[in-house]
């Protein structure tokens, strides 16, 4: 059958697909188009400046800085003594804006899944939201004094409700920004942060995963060998989001005497090659393999400077991001299967009248809320500067295992329709398989 014939068959053969397309359009006009998306910087009183931004354009990254001794760090959120699950007014405003944007992501998702990249107009619109202001310290022209880990969890979750793959792509550069604000040396901050406030911010990504069975982020084959004031990096990374569009990479490598560290590697570095490597899902994020053959990196390009960083904690912030992605996607599944099961008739009544169906949906709710609670607790502890290693570890187990179960049940509930690409649940199934595996890209 030719492509055109398939397209024309769609509306008659799969009436529900048409129905849900219509449903999304309705949401779009009701919410997305009627209300203008507002820029983050316009939402709040803001008196920063975008003047005087200079970009480092050299191919090799050498961070000299201006000699200022201490890097800028956002302070820990002061701990409230009350158990409180409310978002504050500011967070609710951001959430509402992102919910409208997420509807556009949902509408674009099917097309993007085949194109393996996000279209430029949508990137442009995302950039106009200027989320970076919610990450950057005041002294660098941003709006922040305190950490906003919870806000960022909410952002990722909300975007993932639109589409997991696109959410990963959109939030990957912001994750690099988080990493630089949180871990970067003075010179790294001064060189790299300003580019995130540009109209078209620089794209960068994080590469930890390697193509090996039983992969552990704490046992890497990528090695960094010290040569004088430089390092030579050799190894293979894969499952790297935005690999082809990134200006630079944060690459995890095993050093000889300082554990695993993160290296800031320019895309034009000699010996570095990037190739598209398709996977089961996450197509919107344009997954790549990154090969390093004796790539020379300046000593100043070790994240955090000569002392480096606490790598296990770095990984934990990455996992928080993946947990938030899973929660958002699973919420999307729940919101999708409810109207489906109510509208789909079999044996003379809605399939949701049957306990076998209804109880699966109840279970999705129970496990989704479990994932959410563990993710929220780990994130809130991180934001307060408390040790959250155990919490994020447990949250990640829950999000990996229950998230995949929800993904599978989402397809099951739609039966044959679930297996057809006209419906989004098969994409969510493919995307959710990544949660247990990936450490790349995200960093809250």
């Amino acid at each position: 059958m030719k492509q055109a014939e398939i397209k024309s068959k769609k509306s008659t053969e799969y009436p529900l697909a048409t129905y849900f397309g219509y449903y999304n359009q309705l949401l779009d006009t009701k919410m997305g188009k009627a209300l203008n998306l507002r820029k983050i910087s316009e939402m709040f009183v803001y008196q920063g400046t975008k003047n005087g931004i200079k970009l480092a354009t050299a191919a090799s990254r050498v961070f000299k800085g201006n000699g200022k001794e201490n890097p800028e760090r956002l302070s820990n959120k002061s701990k409230s003594d009350l158990f409180d699950l409310n978002y504050n007014d500011e967070q609710i405003m951001i959430q509402e804006t992102l919910q409208q944007f997420a509807i556009k992501m949902r509408n674009a998702a099917e097309k993007i899944d085949d194109k393996f990249e996000i279209d430029k107009a949508l990137w442009q619109e995302f950039n106009e939201l200027q989320l970076a202001y919610m990450q950057i310290p005041e002294s660098f022209g941003g709006m922040m004094k305190e950490k906003s880990t919870v806000t960022q969890m909410m952002m990722v979750e909300t975007l993932a409700h639109g589409d997991l793959g696109q959410a990963l792509a959109f939030f990957t550069p912001h994750s690099v920004l988080n990493a630089i604000v949180k871990w970067g040396s003075t010179a790294q901050q001064q060189d790299l942060i300003p580019a995130f406030l540009l109209e078209n911010p620089e794209i960068a990504t994080i590469a930890i995963n390697e193509p090996s069975v039983l992969f552990s982020p704490y046992e890497l084959n990528t090695k960094a060998v010290k040569r004088g004031n430089e390092f030579s990096l050799t190894g293979l990374k894969n499952m790297v989001p935005l690999g082809t569009s990134a200006a630079y990479f944060l690459i995890a490598a095993q050093t000889e005497d300082n554990g695993i560290q993160i290296f800031i590697v320019d895309k034009n570095s000699k010996g570095l090659s990037v190739s598209i490597e398709r996977g089961m899902g996450l197509n919107a994020a344009g997954l790549c393999a990154v090969e390093l053959k004796d790539v020379i990196v300046d000593g100043s390009a070790v994240l955090g400077g000569s002392e480096g960083i606490n790598y296990p904690e770095f990984v934990n912030y990455c996992k928080l991001g993946w947990c938030a992605l899973a929660v958002g996607c699973c919420q999307a599944i729940l919101d999708y299967v409810i109207p489906y099961a109510n509208d789909r008739y079999a044996f003379g009544e809605p399939i949701s009248n049957r306990q076998a169906v209804a109880f699966m949906i109840a279970d999705i709710k129970i496990e989704l809320e479990s994932m959410r609670m563990l993710t929220q607790r780990a994130t809130a502890k991180a934001e307060q500067g408390l040790d959250f290693a155990r919490e994020v570890y447990l949250a990640h187990i829950m999000c990996s295992e229950k998230g995949m179960q929800i993904g599978s049940n989402g397809v099951q509930l739609l039966g044959g329709h679930g297996f057809i690409r006209d419906f989004p649940v098969e994409r969510w199934y493919r995307d959710l398989r990544a949660v247990a595996i990936a450490a790349n890209g995200l960093h809250l």
Binding site: I361, A362, I366, E369, R390, L394, M398
Partner: protein
């Protein structure tokens, strides 16, 4: 956003944990073996609890179901959350013994939630059990057949009630009975019946698989005359309002039952880790597929337990802040009860024949845990409640 237990509840928690360790645990096995023997150690504890109740905003035992009155828009951590924290800590000691603490029965919760001032005055010092289940009706409490017939200033009760927790030891029993079987749910009312009322006979104490420290009674009512003023709520049959009034109690108590499960789960995981010391190394870092099978089991149990605990706190937090929480109450009850049952059985398995023997409490906890997924609404009833809410279905559509 903050998901840690507030420091103002640390005292309650510490007191309850101390009671769990020093009063409950030493006699846990004794009253498991000597079923139907009254645990006299609890009298001392009850006296202490009553003293605390009088001096605090939220009750410590099972009775704090009155919703907070003041609403100034600020976030509250109140009686419901305090109760959950307290119950979990006590059940870390022993679920059966918690259910036997004088004056902390489910009937007390019902009285506290729906009684008028005169009834509160009359019964607030009582130990009130709850009688709903009948030989031919369990989860379907709308199908009860125990009848109440108005005769002058009295109601006359006839019927048989079973599975009444603390039915022997209590002072009063809150009995569900129907004014007119034909009308259905709307005609079901609850009556406070004092022990010793003629026509009320305790016919049996059940022998059970677990929670043996708690007495479970069967009571038969034969032409039992109860004063009309002992009817809880409105005496009118309001078909529109229906079941709401009597079922409201359960929105409040489901998080408490979830807390019982959480306490048992906490105890089982902790003891299993103690027994496995030297054989496991939990670093909360190595990917779960790269650790020993037993370590992976422990990680999963901890994840499930923490999720259940936080879901329970969420439901209680919503009640304290006057947010409708019927859905969340069922979610936490369903999750906590089922994972606690599963993980307590897994703990016995991990501890092998040591765990199976009477030398450890693990086997007892795995027997105790099963009831938590049954009483106060079975797993399946919770799923029905959750599904009906999510799918916006009536009980006629989603049966």
């Amino acid at each position: 956003m903050n998901l840690e237990v507030p420091s103002k509840f640390k005292n309650i928690q510490n007191f309850a944990l101390m009671a769990a360790k020093t009063i409950f645990r030493p006699v846990s096995r004794k009253y498991d073996v000597e079923e139907h023997t009254y645990p006299i150690e609890l009298d001392l504890l009850a006296a202490g609890l009553n003293g605390m109740n009088e001096g605090s905003d939220g009750s410590v035992g099972g009775a704090a179901t009155k919703k907070e009155k003041i609403d100034d828009g600020s976030v509250k951590n109140g009686g419901n959350m305090a109760n959950c924290i307290n119950i979990q800590a006590m059940c870390y000691g022993d679920v059966g013994l918690l259910l036997s603490i004088p004056g902390q029965g489910l009937g007390n919760a019902a009285i506290s939630a729906v009684a008028n001032p005169a009834q509160l005055e009359k019964f607030s010092k009582s130990w009130a059990a709850m009688a709903i289940t009948e030989p031919n009706c369990g989860s379907d409490s709308s199908a009860i057949t125990t009848s109440a017939r108005k005769e002058g200033d009295f109601y006359v009760l006839n019927g048989e009630k079973i599975y009444i927790t603390a039915g022997e030891r209590c002072n009063v029993v809150v009995v569900w009975a129907t004014l007119d079987k034909e009308i259905g749910k709307a005609a079901i009312k609850s009556f406070v019946v004092e022990k010793g009322t003629p026509g009320m006979e305790l016919v049996r104490l059940e022998k059970k698989m677990g929670i043996r420290a708690s007495d479970t009674a069967a009571i038969v009512f034969t032409e039992c005359k109860v004063p009309a003023e002992n009817l809880l709520g409105s005496p009118e049959i309001d078909v529109k309002k229906g079941f709401g009034g009597v079922m409201e109690t359960f929105d409040n108590t489901r998080p408490f039952v979830a807390s019982m499960a959480n306490g048992l789960a906490e105890a089982a995981i902790e003891r299993t880790k103690e027994l496995l010391e030297g054989k496991i190394n939990l670093d909360y870092k190595t990917p779960i597929n790269n650790v020993k099978s037993v370590e992976a089991e422990i990680y999963r149990m901890e994840a499930e337990y923490e999720a259940a605990r936080l879901l329970t706190l969420k439901a209680a937090w919503m009640a304290d802040n006057r947010k409708p929480n019927s859905l969340e109450a069922s979610v936490c009850k369903a999750k906590a009860a089922r994972i606690t049952n599963q993980l307590s059985l897994k703990c016995v398995e991990l501890a092998s024949s040591l765990g199976y023997s009477y030398n450890e409490l693990l086997e007892k906890w795995s027997r105790d845990s099963k009831i938590l997924d049954i009483f106060e609404g079975t797993q399946q009833i919770q799923q029905l409640i959750i599904a009906r809410r999510l799918l916006q279905k009536s009980s006629a559509e989603l049966k």
